[in-house]
């Protein structure tokens, strides 16, 4: 629906359709890896789906996806999709050795659903947040959204490279603590980009704020800060 409103012509494609060759990933301009659950989130959220996307070799989905990313086509991972992109090694991007960041159980220890305010990083290379002068208001709904890094050097590098594209923040710019940061993510990280700027993953659900009436204070006359703009930027970059 969000891709549609943003001017795209989206199609929901099942993983099996890509694997069987019924559909070819490289026939598309943009990929959204959506939220929800995959494989019951057994072994950790997104882990098994990441295995599907990470398999390499000739004519594998992993190779097609690597080429898709290599060519700069936009890829947006939301919630379970973000977890999958991180666990498949596509975010924050090229790295040697073990995975530099992960998404793990919320600091609160339980699933949580609430609206959050996301501040875009104006220096991020992400094509999705290009030109965004105001933040995004949208809900989170997850149990494993706490972004943690392997070490401080990793966080420093993410910050220096401006890959931290969206952070949990507050509308009055006060320090974001719980519940503004709903899961205890390091440096309030809500979304990460790759260095090329064409892959973005985030835990919150921007696709759930694409109509004014979805605003949590719409009945109080408040509007704006919609998540639709991420999709518009994505479609524009195709």
């Amino acid at each position: 629906m969000a891709c549609d409103l943003a001017g795209g012509d989206p199609e929901i494609v099942h993983l099996n359709q890509l694997r069987s060759g019924e559909r070819n990933l490289l026939d598309y301009h943009m990929l959204v890896v959506p939220g929800g659950f995959s494989y019951g989130d057994d072994l950790g959220a997104g882990v098994l789906w990441a295995v599907d996307l990470g398999q390499r070799g000739e004519a594998t989905l992993g190779d097609a996806l690597a080429r898709f990313v290599q060519e700069g086509r936009p890829v947006l991972g939301i919630c379970n999709g973000f977890q999958t992109l991180v666990k498949a090694g596509l975010l924050p991007g090229d790295h040697d050795g073990p995975r530099p960041v992960t998404l793990t159980h919320n600091a609160s220890g339980h699933f949580e659903c609430r609206w959050v305010y996301l501040e875009p990083n104006p220096n991020s290379p992400s094509l999705f947040t290009k030109g965004l002068t105001s933040g995004i208001l949208c809900p989170v709904a997850h149990g494993e959204g706490r972004l943690l890094a392997r070490d401080k050097a990793t966080l420093d590098r993410l910050e220096a490279d401006n890959l931290i594209t969206l952070t949990y923040s507050t509308l009055d710019s006060s320090l974001a603590t719980y519940p503004a940061n709903p899961n205890g993510s390091a440096l309030n990280i809500a979304g990460l980009s790759n260095a090329a700027g064409n892959v973005l993953g985030l835990m919150p659900h921007p696709e759930n704020h694409i109509f004014p009436w979805q605003h949590p204070r719409a009945h109080r006359g408040e509007t704006g800060l919609m998540g639709l703009r991420l999709f518009e930027n994505g479609v524009r970059a195709c």
């Binding site: 009436w213 979805q214 009945h219 109080r220």
Partner: protein, 499 residues
């Protein structure tokens, strides 16, 4: 599925999770996430292709055929063969004894005016009562924004901590170009404390509450369907069955009065426990009514939080001092004997709901909250804490059934009479609202503003307010962050069975 035709089933075709199941175990297993479909033979191949594409197993179990029998085979061997008529109609009807008697009053309630703790203490105790206090801790554990359909959230207001009357869900893929987005209000009604007094009134009150909540957010009262969910004791005992029958009569009569169909339901019976004297006790007869109401336009929905200082607050519907089983009594409030009835049915409640719905659809209503647990008093406090705005309220303006014109302040403030709402409107809409509500009892009782809820008593010559509480004090009690001076009377807390 085969009741009117007949069916033949081969159990060896059923996919099993593990081997070694006997035929009757395969036939009766309640393993989850399985569905039986009736598929015309010419569509079978297409269905199997769809299932295969999603890694879903699908097997052919048998055929429907006009035999009038259910014939079950395992590896070609017959293991069951019954007529459909016997299967569906063969069970002989049981005859059970049912008996219901109104409760016997053991302690004599006073006829004279009673004295209660200060009204402010009572309101804070009510806000902290487990039935009333914030459910945010629980609600946030569930995804109430799935697929972006939340047009009215379960938690509303300036800081998303107010208790919404009902959620409105808009299925996004139903949007038609140039048409308003329609939605569905999902609400419920639950009044178990009235059960011991009168299960008939309890059932009626639960239907009324579910309807109120749906209409309060913008559902059309003529397009509401309801479900029942009974939790009761052992129905083989005449008194348990008697109260169950009486509540079912209440459901029947209320469904006809509100012209709303019961579309489904479920039950959980035999909820009994043994008390410290070795006696069997049933849980309070508990009936949950869930309602689903059609919302024509999700942009014309209403939430319960106060919106704007200077706006007027109205009460819609008249109040009778009906405090039997009320939350006022649960937190230790004393009640005069003539006020101890459970809330009774309101004549032409549906007409009242229709009129309110029209007022909401025409955009006159800025906030709407139903009066339920804790009556007008709690509803006022909840509207304040959700909107982070205060209010000045004149109790003498509340329409009261003339028969009870001399009822005490707290009997009016905390009565749980049915089919009542509080609404907020802009001052300039006062005439239009009165015209819309017509002969439905209603009155302006307050003005939004300030940072505290100040309620003035019904006696005109009293200078001091009945209570004056800051919005932050209300919120602290509601969120469980305040010590409340008044605690529930222990005798009124039912023991909870452990199984």
């Amino acid at each position: 599925m085969g009741e009117e035709l007949g069916a033949t089933v081969e159990l060896q075709n059923v996919d099993l999770k593990y081997p070694g199941l006997r035929p009757w175990e395969i036939w009766l297993s309640e393993a989850q996430e399985r569905m039986v479909l009736a598929v015309p033979p010419e569509n079978l191949e297409r269905l199997q292709a769809i299932c295969a594409g999603q890694d879903v197993t699908a097997t052919v179990l048998g055929t429907f055929e006009p035999s009038g029998r259910l014939q079950v085979y395992y590896g070609g061997q017959p293991v069951g063969n019954l007529t459909m008529d016997f299967l569906h109609n063969g069970l002989p009807r049981r005859h059970l004894q049912a008996q219901w008697r109104p409760p016997v009053e053991t302690d004599h309630a006073p006829d004279e005016p009673v004295s209660n703790p200060p009204a402010a203490d009572m309101l804070l105790a009510l806000l902290a009562h487990p039935d009333i206090r914030s459910k945010e801790d629980v609600i946030r554990h569930y995804d109430h924004e799935v697929q972006g359909g939340g047009a009215a959230k379960p938690l509303v207001g300036s800081a998303a901590n107010g208790p919404g009357d009902a959620a409105v869900i808009a299925p996004l893929d139903t949007q038609e170009p140039d048409h308003p987005q329609a939605g569905v209000a999902v609400s419920n009604g639950l009044c178990p404390w009235y059960s011991d007094i009168d299960p008939y009134r309890m059932a009626w009150a639960a239907v009324d509450e579910a309807m109120r909540n749906a209409v309060a957010v913008g559902a059309d009262p003529d397009r509401v369907a309801i479900l029942d969910n009974f939790c009761w004791g052992n129905p083989n005992l005449p008194d348990r069955l008697g109260s169950l029958v009486r509540s079912a009569q209440g459901c029947h009569d209320a469904a006809l009065a509100y012209e709303t169909p019961f579309v489904s339901g479920k039950d959980s019976l035999n909820n009994e426990y043994t008390d410290e004297h070795g006696r069997k006790q049933a849980i309070p007869g508990t009936l949950l009514i869930s309602a689903m109401g059609y919302v024509p336009d999700v942009t014309r929905t209403v939430t319960m939080d106060l919106k704007q200082a200077g706006n007027f607050v109205y009460v819609v519907g008249d109040t009778r001092p009906e405090l039997g089983g009320s939350h006022f009594s649960l937190v230790g409030g004393k009640i005069r004997s003539q006020h101890q009835a459970a809330p009774g049915p309101v004549s032409n409640a549906l007409g009242r709901l229709r009129v309110l719905h029209q007022a909401i659809r025409s955009g006159l209503v800025r906030a709407c909250h139903d009066c339920s647990e804790g009556g007008i008093g709690v509803a006022l406090a909840e509207m304040c804490l959700a909107g982070d705005l205060g209010m000045e309220v004149q109790m003498r303006s509340v329409p009261v059934d003339p028969y009870y014109a001399y009822a005490a302040d707290e009997a009016v403030l905390y009565s749980e009479s049915l089919t009542r709402f509080l609404i907020e409107i802009r001052p300039e809409d006062a005439d239009a609202l009165s015209a819309a509500l017509g002969d439905v009892p209603h009155a302006c009782i307050g003005v939004v503003g300030g940072t505290s809820l100040r309620i003035h008593p019904r006696l005109p010559d009293t200078a001091d307010p009945l209570l004056d509480l800051s919005v932050s004090a209300l919120r602290q009690a509601f969120t469980g962050q305040a010590q409340v001076a008044v605690q529930p009377a222990p005798s009124l807390i039912h023991a909870v069975p452990t199984t």
